[in-house]
Each structure stands twice: as C-alpha cells, then as structure tokens.
Subunit: 257 residues, 2 copies
Amino acid sequence: MAEKNSELMGSNFTLKPEKPLDNIRIVLLETSHPGNLGAAARAMKVMGLSRLYLVNPKCAIDDEARARASGAVDVLDAAVICASLDEALADTVLSAACTSRRRDLPHPAYTPRRAAPELLSQARSAPVAIVYGSETFGLSNEQLGKCRWLLNIPSNPDYASLNLGAAVQVVAYELRCTLDDSPLDLPGFVPASHEEVEGLVVAMEETLVEIGFLDPRQPKRLMPRLRRFFARAGLEKEEVAIWRGIVNAAKSGGRRD
Amino acid sequence: MAEKNSELMGSNFTLKPEKPLDNIRIVLLETSHPGNLGAAARAMKVMGLSRLYLVNPKCAIDDEARARASGAVDVLDAAVICASLDEALADTVLSAACTSRRRDLPHPAYTPRRAAPELLSQARSAPVAIVYGSETFGLSNEQLGKCRWLLNIPSNPDYASLNLGAAVQVVAYELRCTLDDSPLDLPGFVPASHEEVEGLVVAMEETLVEIGFLDPRQPKRLMPRLRRFFARAGLEKEEVAIWRGIVNAAKSGGRRD
C-alpha cells in the first residue's frame, strides 16, 4: 500500500538517471555470427549505449567477436545472457522490435527517428529495450507479440537486408542524435512493466478460454489483436490493475453461468 | 560560348536524375580490410546508393569482401578504382569528408542530418561525394583540404571510433531518410566542379608566390585558409571565372611592378 501511494505521488520520477542511454537495452535474439556480436557492441559504445542482452546466442563471444568489438570489448564482457525474451525484457516499460516485416496485424510501427524521443523519455525513469531477431530467421510472431512497438528502418525496397550490426548502429545513432536535442520532459504517467503486461495478457487469455469466448483449437487473431491494442495504448500500472479486475470479474461471471 | 550560355539559361537543370542517390559517390581512401569494403557496399545498397569509388585500396575485393557484401556484390563489382582523390572527385560539385577530427582551421563542419538536404539538393544535378579515410590513418590535411565540408557523426566523446562500414551506414541512412522527406527544390545556382575549384586554388597559389605575397618556405596557413573560404562559400561556375580573372589581373599587376 505504501508502495502504491509512492507511485501515485510520482516518487518514481525522482530516480531519473542523468544518462537515459544507460537504461536502454539492446537485445539480440539467437545471434549466430560472432562478428555481429562484436559489431553490435562497437556500434552501441560509439553512441554511448552499454547494456547488451543476448537471448540464447547461437555462437560464443570468441576472438572474432572481440576483434570486431575493437575498443568495446567491455560491452561484450558485460553482456547479460538470457534464456528467454521475457527474461531480457524483465522490468522494461517499453520494447521496440527492429524488423523490416510488415504484418497483417501490425503493432504500432515507427521509424527510429519518430520513435527515439519516446524511447528516451521512458528511459529516463525505467528500462527500455530494442529487440533484434536472428540473422537468418528474424523475429517470430510470438517474439514480435511480446514487444510493444515495431521499428522500421527506412531502406531500399529492392534490398532491405541490413546487417545486424548496421541495424544496431542506425538505431543507436538516432538515440544519440535525439538525446543531444531533447528536452528533459518527463512522461505524464507511471508505465506498467513488461511482466505486468505479460501477466495481464496471460490471465486474460486463460479467462477468455474459460468463459468460452476464445476457442483454443481455433484461436484466430484474437490474442494478437489484444496485444496490439495494449501495445498501441501503452499501459499504465494502474490500468493493469483495472484490467486485471475486469478479467477477474469476467471469470467470476463465467463461473456463475 | 554556346556552352556558357546554356549554363546561364539553367539548362544544366533539365538533366535532373529522378534518383539523386545515383549521383552520390562513396569514396573510400586506402582501405585495408576487405570486410570493410563489403560492409560499405551492403550499407550503401540497403539505402539505395550504388556508386563506390576506391582510392588506392590496400586490399583486394576478395571472398571476405564478397561475403560481407552479401546481396550487394554488384556494388563491389562496379566499384571505380582510382589512383588519387582528385580522380575520385572528378566532376563533383560538393564533397564532404567524414571525420571525427577537429582541426585548428576547420572547413564548414556539419552533422550528417544537417548536411543531407544540401548534399541531395546538389546531387539532383551533378555528382556529389562522401569521403572516408583509411581505417588506421584517417584523412590527411591534404586530403581534407580537397573536400569542401566535414561531416561529424555525433558520437560518444569517450569512444568515437566508428567502424568504417558503420560510418557509411549512418550517412547513407541519413541521405535516404532525408530523400524520403525532401521537396524537389533545385539549388539557385550552377555550382563549380571539383576540377574548376582545384584549378583556381592552384593558379591562385602560383600567383601569390609570384607576386611575393606567399613565401613557399614559410607558407603558414594561407592556402588552407583560402580553401576554407571557398569551401564555406561554395563556388558557382561564374564565380570561378571571376576569381581566375582576379588572379590573372594580380599576376599582371605583379609583373608591372
């Protein structure tokens, strides 16, 4: 209760780091080329980023990775190895998946330039993640579904195949350029964490099955649509509580039938 | 004379390519790592650039270069190999050297974001070059002196060492983003070519020595200062003619003394 009050009083915002770049994670999924790990680390450090998260890397941080990292070996050495995307997104309040894919049910999609101010604004008070898929397979729908935004880097429609390190470089560059320009405004609300949103979506799915609204054998696009809605809206902590209340109420209602 | 009239009538501008990116050269000086050649080619093609110029490359376009180029091997194969920077800058009307160096007598220095609109505007009617030094030695003062602008990519002051391919990627990305936004305005004048400006500077230097204003044994910073002035101003064709007239007049005046 004390915790909730302090949130309502906005005391979370007294903990604003001077360097929002320190709150931005670069999350690489199932990377297979050591050279790309090194290139990503160098691309990050050269723009002032340092938090590298590797989800199930398919290669080691070897000599090639270190050679390509050049003076950014410290970023490689401090990389956090995770067993799942959820683990890498723990505590984040905003996540953006870098992809050239267009989906039939897209999340909010922005260019890095358009997205950078909000990414930095959120990163002033809590962790934010930029997510990159594997070199060969990109991001699965399930992985994309766990991210709130898509980042589309403008590119040649005839050849849009950015190298992984280059894609990290472009976004890191945008973040730095925007940081150099941006005012110190704070967002107007207390955003929900990744876990809170995931917990809500899972609870909602279970309840929708339970009350017979969602047929697990024919789920259609229902859950992706809901995810999209939450992603676009950007949930506050209090709104998660409200939605969980609604879900519980729906469940009880279903049982009463 | 007919040629001069057509220039004054602005007929040069009837030849505007629909794709200004086709008029932008990426010039790499004395590159020593084949992987960087490939990375640069890929970085270019993914943003719609295709004109690669290699000045005295210190490595071959080998298997490593082709592997890193991925689907941009065509850009590598079409690369123009030059024996000098002047050769690579032939016919260009604007050249920008990408460097993190700060000099005591700087050229006009811009960020890629600030420079991109003018680079594209000029590239609608004539070739433009972005110049990158070698991985180890960067750009010499003499090489910088031949370029009109400096491009400073914003970066971490504690570690500003961008990889060559990454630096090509950032500038190519800015050009593409700006192209997607920019109106089709034409520049208001007929810019002088690289050769015309170089010819003027050389003639001026000879004349300044001849008339006793420049001591070749103690040249100080005179010629760099003049180059800087012309670079900042951006010479029109007609202005080159005017300046050459002034130089000739000074020479004759010197002889009369």
